[in-house]
């Protein structure tokens, strides 16, 4: 028997805060260079016409420039747009400073990405100040201690979903709350696709069951929602919109990888091999630094004609040495049935397991493990890629350091590892 019951809106005072740094990369660039402030600028993966926009400034967004557009498209909208290359260490620095400020209020916080944090103040002294007062204080501290150009949108809610939703209500520089008193008024202003996680496909599914508005979704019974989503997801949406927590889950590391958009199309495997090798070296180093070995390798290729091919392979032996990962990855890549210009190449390792000192014998070759560890130590001491496989010669400028919006799992470890040297 299904014992799930329709719940009222959570009457608990909101204790969750979602902090989102507005136009993160572009705002940080404007923070660093005051001469760029108030101007439409964008950070792009590459400054070339086909480079992908990663972060437009607030001024550029107002002109219609969006994340994911090509540089050439943006220049048609605004020819004077200034396009900058990403500077990952600047963004990591701001992320870590934000982390320090947030840590003054609670240790129950988690970074959701390079520019987003979720805090829970339940049971912490700061909660007595009031969530809105804490939000204001955090904004002031960011301006005072990190940068006077940086603005954050803060959302407060009884659960993570509503806190994030509240953070999106006013951008930039918002401070909004969704609670048991105002939720109806706020829901009535939103459309289904305004909800984080509901896009056109889900909205169509909901429409089919007679749900057209957020208030319809809020009022819908659990059986109706389960029918609309055809899964337990319907029940989760009921909980989210009623302010009950369902998203307080931290996912562990499942894979590690590296990706590169080729600035010029390459077709032949021997031309692509050095890039594949560098991607493997990056992924392998990060894997070992995180204390893992892998039992699977995956290669994904996006061709210039937008055709996508990918393949992964698992095996019984654990992989630790980048050279072994490269051999597997090259074999997988060579199995691609296409001989077309490659636009994007990605390699990842999966089926990760923690390296335990007692397991080192499993490699059957401790000398190899020692050699890999020694090479990693040299690269850590003198800089990445000081010692590389010969195939990577001439690759210094290829596959530069990049930072993902979503992937900050190894950021702290990376920095702690650096500062403790």
């Amino acid at each position: 028997m299904d014992c799930r019951i329709n719940l009222p809106f959570n009457p608990k005072p909101p204790t969750i805060m979602h902090i989102d740094l507005n136009s993160c990369f572009a705002s940080i660039e404007q923070q660093a260079n005051p001469l760029l402030r108030g101007k439409p600028i964008a950070v792009a993966a590459y400054q070339t016409p086909n480079g992908c926009i990663l972060a437009p400034s607030i001024e550029a967004k107002r002109l219609g420039i969006k994340v994911g557009m090509r540089v050439k498209e943006c220049k048609l909208i605004y020819p004077n747009l200034q396009v900058l290359s990403p500077d990952p260490w600047k963004y990591r620095h701001v992320h870590l400073r934000l982390r320090e400020i947030i840590g003054e209020y609670t240790d129950k916080f988690s970074p959701k990405s390079i520019d987003e944090f979720v805090l829970n103040l339940e049971g912490y002294p700061a909660f007595k100040k009031g969530m809105v007062a804490v939000g204001r204080e955090i904004k002031e501290k960011i301006i005072k201690h990190i940068g006077d150009w940086l603005r954050v949108s803060i959302g407060i809610g009884p659960n993570r979903f509503l806190a994030k939703q509240a953070a999106g209500l006013k951008k930039p520089d918002g401070l909004e709350e969704i609670n048991a008193i105002n939720y109806e008024e706020i829901y009535s202003r939103l459309t289904l696709t305004d909800l984080n996680g509901i896009k056109k496909a889900n909205a169509s599914r909901l429409n089919l069951t007679g749900i057209y508005t957020v208030m319809d979704l809020y009022r819908a019974g659990i059986p109706n929602l389960k029918a609309a989503f055809r899964s337990i997801a319907g029940y989760y949406w009921h909980l989210r919109l009623h302010g009950w927590e369902i998203d307080d889950v931290e996912f562990g590391r499942k894979s590690l990888g590296a990706m590169y958009s080729l600035p010029r199309p390459l077709v032949q495997a021997q031309e692509i091999a050095p890039i594949l090798c560098k991607l493997v070296e990056k992924a392998g180093f990060r894997m070992r630094r995180s204390g893992f070995m892998a039992k699977g390798v995956h290669v994904a290729i996006l061709y210039r004609d937008h055709c996508f091919w990918h393949h992964g392979k698992t095996q019984t032996d654990s992989l630790f040495d980048s050279r072994d990962i490269y051999k597997k990855a090259f074999k997988i890549m060579s199995a691609s049935p296409y001989t077309k210009p490659v636009a994007n190449l990605a390699v990842s390792v999966f089926n990760l397991e923690k390296v335990k000192s007692t397991q080192l014998d499993l490699f059957g070759n401790n000398r190899k493990t020692s050699l890999v560890s020694a090479l990693d130590k040299i690269n850590s001491r003198w800089g990445d890629f000081v010692i590389t496989p010969a195939i990577m010669m001439g690759m210094q400028d290829k596959v530069p350091d990049r930072i993902g919006f979503g992937n900050i799992k190894d950021l702290e470890q990376f920095v702690i590892g650096n500062t403790s040297r």
């Binding site: 660093a32 260079n33 760029l36 900058l84 690269n379 850590s380």
Partner: protein, 86 residues
């Protein structure tokens, strides 16, 4: 215009023990002195074990990306910009 460069640069640094702030106050570049009026951001990174401090600094009309190598205490200018489009 934003231009990447990589040249040594003469830099005057000040340390204020009261505010515990360290910042470049003047750079000499291309035969001219540029007083620094604002530090937009100060961050650091490592290459291997070598720590580099990056000061994003502006005079009245020019932005300088100044990098201090803490191994040899040499300064390099890595980027200049006037904030105008290319």
């Amino acid at each position: 215009m934003n231009q990447k460069v990589d040249v040594p640069i003469a830099t005057l640094l000040s340390y204020d023990p009261k505010t515990r702030q360290v910042k470049p106050i003047l750079v000499s570049w291309n035969g001219r002195d540029y007083p620094i009026i604002k530090i937009g951001l100060h961050h650091s990174y490592r290459v291997g074990r070598t720590l580099f401090h990056v000061f994003s600094a502006v005079s009245d009309s020019i932005f300088f990306r100044l990098v201090l190598n803490t191994d040899n205490l040499f300064w390099r200018l890595e980027e200049i910009s006037d904030g105008l489009p290319d």
